[in-house]
Every structure is written in C-alpha cells, then in structure tokens.
Amino acid sequence: MNMSSRAERSVVEGPRDGTSPVIPRDPSTALGMTTRLDGELLEVSMGPQHPSTHGVFRMNVALDGETVVKLKPVFGYLHRNHEKIGENTSYLGSMPYTDRLDYFCSLTNNWAYALSVEKLAGIEVPERAEYLRIILAELTRLQNHASLLGFLLSDMGAWGTPLMYAFREREKILDLFESLAGSRMMCDYMRFGGCRVDAGPDWIGRAKKVLDAFPRFLDEFEKLLVSNEIVIARTQHIGKLTADLAISAGITGPMLRASGVNYDLRKVDGYGFYPRFKFRVPLGDHGDTYDRLMMRVLEMRESIEILKQAFEQIPAGPVMNPKVKLRSFRPPVGEAYGRIEGPKGELGFYLISDGSSNPYRYRVRPPSFINLTILEDLCLGHTVADVMVILGSVDIVMGEVDR
C-alpha cells in the first residue's frame, strides 16, 4: 500500500524546482506514444474528491495532452483499522464489522469470515444453512453485478439512466435481505455453524418471484448494452489485461476470467454445496473493458441458474449447528484461511488462534484492493476518459480497499 503519498506527490521524473527542464522518461518506445517536443506533462490529482472515483480513491495522473503516461493510485483515505479491531474483538464481534468491508456484498463477506472460523474450529454446518448461504451469495452477486454495470455506464456519462434501472432490481433483492436479516445492507446474517435465523415459509416464494422477474431486466440491459455503438466504441480494446500479467498480479474474479483464465473458486475449491450445482464459468478472450463488462452479464445468467436449482433442492431442517457456543467461543490453537468466490473476486480471511476468545491475527484478502493494484498497467496509453471507464470495470468498493 502506498502510504507515502507526499513523497510520491510529484509523479513526473526530474526536478520540479524549475532550474532545469523536466524531461519525462521517453514513452515512445515502451508505450507507443509520441514524445512531446517541449517535454511538458500535466500532472492532475484525481480524487479523493472526484465525482467518479467510487469513493475516496485518488489517482495521481501525468497527462500528455489527454493521454495517460503515468498513474499512481493513492489509497488509505478510508482506512478504519479493520484488521486491528478484529484482533481486539471476539470472533463473533467481528462478524458485523465484515459487513462494512464491501458494503455492497455484506452477505458474501459474512460467509467468507464464517467459513474461515469454521475451518479453524472444525465446525459442521447444517444442510439448510448451506443452501441459504448459496442463495444469499448468488443474490448478492446479482445485485452487485447489476449495480456495477449501472455505475460503469454512469462513469461513461449515461447520466444515471442505466444505474436507476439497475437499482430498481437491486432494491427488490435488498427487500429480500431486509425481510430475512433485518437490514438491507449491513445484514450480519451468517454465524459460524449456520445462519442467524431461518427463512420464513413465504420467503423462498418471494425470492422466486424476484428471480423470475430478473431475466427480463437482464435481457433488456444486455440488449441496450451490447448493441449500443457508443458503449462498444468506448469499451472494446480499452484497458487490456493479458492473462500472464493478471496471474502474476494476483487478480481474481470476473476480471481474471475476462482475460481468459479459467479460475472460479466455486469450481476450484468447491466450498459449500457448489459441487452439487450445475453451472458454467464464462471466459473472455480479449481481457478488455468490454469483456469485463460482459463477464458480469454472463455471470448473472449463471447465478440465476444456480438460484433456480437451489430453490428446488433446499431441504427443511435446522439452520444452526446446536453445538456451537457463539458467546463463549474459543477455537483451538491453530490457523486457517477460508476463501470464497465473492462477486469481486477471491475474498479470504486468514485467522491465527492462540486459544483465546480473540483471534491472534486477523487478516483480510480483499479482492478490490488487489485487483486495483494493476490499474496503471491498464490505463497507460489511454485517455483520461478511459481511465474512469477502466476504473469502473475493475469494480472496487473503497471500504474493502482501505479497510
């Protein structure tokens, strides 16, 4: 993490005191850009107050006209000491904090944390709870991807129209969360050993109704998205990420699969009951912004398939392992890393237990943060306008990046 922002403030090489001319690194060879004769670059600090940096994210950008020749991301404006708080709180006490990591997908955060504690203490989860977890995780994926597409098109200057339609669908899913967990965004629903409360008898029926209406929205959205010439011209061949670079940088999630790497933790790890479900993993060939966009659309279709199967298969029974004592929870000494395929990528929690009621070490592997580290490589050689679109397609939430 680049916390020494003051030292990094001047992103252009060379002295800035005006005594000698600023000569930038010759970009014409490496990046395929023309070198300006006067060698003058414009340094712009985009953020932390900027309409479309998705929160308090900051980029120091060096521009040659409109072309980006250097870009340094600056993080940390939303740092809330999440990991240290986790070490000073009981295992159960950290659960509500995980909601605040990526506040768009609190339920998948809950699951990842619960999964790692279950690994640490070797807890069994009842069957109905596993199904509920899958249903909630896929609903979370639906609403996250839908609103991401909306935000991305807003970044492209579509004045919020796609965003509003995406939010209409998201609203229905949030209503489901509210009636189940009591909160729309900060759900705090899962526990190690199951889920907090059972879904009522009519909840599954209502969820089915929401799901039945979703493909219609998706068809409409995809048709407008795919056939719109401006969207295609703004996203294709922009921000290309090669598979090699993606793997070596640790990129995960839809962003990795857009580069053509077949890596989905639901298939690789097979956590939960995912091996019981039949679904496909979409893969892109170009690794550009358009592929990243389409990955989300196609993944939503697969999520709908998973949800349909889950609604049919879900059994009756308890949702909580009765042996787990949540209040005085003391796992055995050891360490565990639990990870799931979150909507944004691999979300993992690494816990070290010393046998006390608090974890000795509590570490989050945030997909947003690690996917964001590649930003400069994606943006070099493109224009300022493209930077925003690329940033939108990475899908970040600052709560998770800065923690």
């Binding site: 521009l63 004045w159 056939s227 969207v231 077949n262 298939k267 993993v281 979409p282 224009t383 300022v384």
Partner: protein
C-alpha cells in the same frame, strides 16, 4: 378577421405602446421599439429557460424510472424559483490564484452571444426582434464568441480540470462550427438571401395543397437538418457530446471553479444556446412559423414556432437521458471524417435539386447523391472489424 388579430396581437400591442409617444423624435421611437423587443425577448426566454429546466428534470426523471422535482409549487413547477434563490444566496467562491477579471467576465461572455443570437430568429409573422439582412451571418458571428468565453473560463480559473475542459471545448466547438456553417449554405443558396425572414418566406405554401414546402422534406434538406442537429448538440455541449464538461472525467470542465450565480449563468447560457440552435433549425429547415397543414393556419404563427421548438428541445432531453458520452477523439474524427464530407454533399445535392427546377427529377437525383455519399462513407469508415459484439466461451 379574428385569427389575423390573434396572430398579430403582439405586433399590434407594440404599435399601440409606441403610439403613446406621438411627438417624440424618430430616434427616441426607434430606441423605445428596440427596448421593447429586448424586454419581450428576455422575458420570454427567461421564462422558457425556467420552464425547460424543470421540465428537463421531470422528463429525465421519468426516463430514469423516478419522479422529477415535485415538491415546490404545483407539480414542482416553482422549482426554478427555489433554485434561483438558492443560487443567489450561495457563496461566490473565486480561487485565490484565478485571473479575477477573466474569471468574472467568462460567464457574462458566455451568455451574451446566446442572447444576441436569439434576436435574429423570426418567432412569428412580422415577429423578428431584429430583422437584419445578414441575420444568418450575424447568428454565426456572435455564436462563435462562445468559444472564447469557454476558454476564458478554463484559463481564468487556474485549475487543471478547467483547462482540460476548455481545451476539449475549443477543439470540438471549432471542429463542429464548420459543418454547422456548411449545412446552412444550401438553404442560403436556394433562397438567395441571408435573411431569416426571407428563408421562412421561401418555405411558405403547400405543394398540391397538402405537403408543406419545408426544406426538411427534400432529400438534401433532411440530411442537412440531421447534420445541423448533431452539430447543434455539440455546439451546446449536450450529451452524447458533453465531453468538455464530462462530469465523470473532469469534474465539470471549464465550470469546475464556478459557484453560485456564476455557475447558474453558465447553465443559463447553455440553455439559451440550445434555444438559439433549435430556433435556427426550425427557421432553416422546419418552415419557421408556418403551419404544417393549410387549414391549421388559424392557429397563431408564434405558437407553431414554439411548438416546433419544444419538439426539438424534447429530443435534446431525450438524447441526454438515453446515450452515454463519446470520447473526445471519437467526437473529433466524426466531425472531420463524416460530418464535413456529408455537409459538402448537401451543398451539391441542393444545387442539383435547384437546377432541375425543384421537380421530381431533382428530388430523385439529390436523394441519389446523398445516399451514394452516405453509403460510401459508411463503407469507408466501417469499424465493424474492430468493434463488434462478441461471443464467449464457457468452462464447465
């Protein structure tokens, strides 16, 4: 005749007001007449601005699946009043390192040409505020001053986002000024006059008693109208060409460092510019204040003008609610590679149409010219090899 009276009611009212100065010298009467025109023009368009700003928000709201403003007054119609009060009592922040004079003058410079351009448009029968022989020339002469104002705002603010926005604005406005001017040429050629009144008069009457003789109903006119409208979108910095103030990229472009009423002035100038371009489009191609059907001429002429203006403004708003923004290099290449050749084609097609006596042969051959060039350009500029929808593979 009552229809005639209603049609000419504003002209009669002005004549009556001027008759209150019976013994005044000529120059006093002339100044009074000009002042009356200015007051009416500003009053009408300030009201229209207020109305359109709230209507735009309501229409955009409906497009975006939400209600627009509906709290202030009936149906939220008093929203512009509340907005105006808010803007007036806001703190006017001037950056400490800004060029104060330029920073102050830029919004005024922006609004002035838009208002001046409104003066030459005929709003109804005998209702041109300033009937100049070279009205079209005057329109573009003052209209191009807006570019200067944008650059003043960008430079005077001493802000990088403003500077980037101003650079983009200059680039695209200068580029689109060219097709905007050239598509006006065929109309001027056919009519043989630069006076807006003469252009409207040339579109009077109905072919076979039904089809109006508007220029938009000829092949070259239709092409020129579409080109004019697109160039007008760019000149007034509206979506999908709102690149200079691209909110998600460069905050607010040249308006980044403006607040309070100066910002409102920019906003007003944008709308006045929109009115002026739409008004000129109505005058040049849509028959000005003429009715579309002969027996509808009982409706006063100014109502027809404003009805056509309202339709064009609605299309502006509709496009804004629908399309994402293009990128500056795409905007520029569209101007030079497509708009400009098409604009010249319109000139040639109009000439052919004119020298075949406005008949069927001319109609067909001008359609042929426009179609051939359009199809040829589409073939040349085809981007389907680079930009196309894709199919994806799946892993089980």
């Amino acid at each position: 005749m009552p229809g005639e009276f209603v049609d000419q009611i504003f002209v009669a009212a002005k004549r009556w007001l001027l008759s209150l100065l019976p013994h005044a010298p000529d120059w006093v009467v002339q100044i009074a007449s000009a002042l009356l025109n200015i007051i009416l023009l500003l009053g009408v368009f300030a009201t229209l601005f207020a109305l359109i700003s709230v209507l735009e928000r309501k229409i955009l709201g409906r497009i975006q699946n939400r209600y627009g403003p509906n709290r202030v007054g009936p149906f939220g119609l008093l929203q512009p009043v509340a907005d105006g009060i808010k803007m007036l009592i806001k703190e006017d922040v001037v950056p400490i390192r800004a060029d104060k004079v330029v920073h102050f003058l830029a919004p005024i410079m922006m609004l002035l040409p838009a208002i001046l351009a409104l003066g030459v448009i005929p709003y109804g029968r005998n209702m041109t505020a300033f009937s100049i022989d070279g009205g079209i020339l005057f329109f573009f002469a003052v209209g191009s001053a807006a570019e200067l104002a944008v650059f003043m705002a960008g430079w005077g603010s001493n802000n990088k986002f403003s500077m980037l926005g101003a650079m983009r604005a200059i680039a695209q406005m200068v580029s689109y000024e060219l097709p905007l001017l050239i598509v006006v040429l065929p109309v001027v050629m056919i009519v043989g006059s630069l006076s807006p009144d003469a252009i409207v008069a040339a579109q009077d009457g109905y072919k076979w008693g039904i089809v109006p003789r508007w220029f938009v109903l000829t092949p070259w006119g239709a092409a020129a109208f579409i080109l004019f409208f697109v160039a007008g979108l760019v000149e007034s910095n509206r979506t999908p060409f709102d690149v200079p103030e691209g909110e998600s990229e460069i905050v607010a472009g040249h308006m980044t460092e403006y607040s309070g009423f100066k910002y409102a002035t920019f906003f007003m100038a944008e709308y006045f510019g929109m009115f002026a371009v739409s008004g000129l489009a109505v005058t040049l191609f849509l028959g000005g204040w003429h009715a579309p059907i002969a027996w509808l001429e009982v409706v006063p002429s100014y109502l027809w003008f404003f009805a056509k203006l309202a339709v064009l403004l609605f299309v502006f708003i509709w496009i804004r609610g629908t399309l994402p923004r293009t990128r500056i290099d795409q905007v520029m290449s569209f101007a030079w590679k497509f708009m400009l050749p098409m604009a010249f084609t319109c000139v040639i097609a109009a000439a052919v149409w004119h020298y075949q006596a406005h008949g069927w042969a001319g109609w067909l051959s001008s359609l042929g010219i426009v179609a051939v060039v359009y199809l040829g350009l589409s073939r040349l500029l085809d981007t389907r090899r680079k930009f196309a929808t894709r199919t994806y593979r799946f892993a089980e």
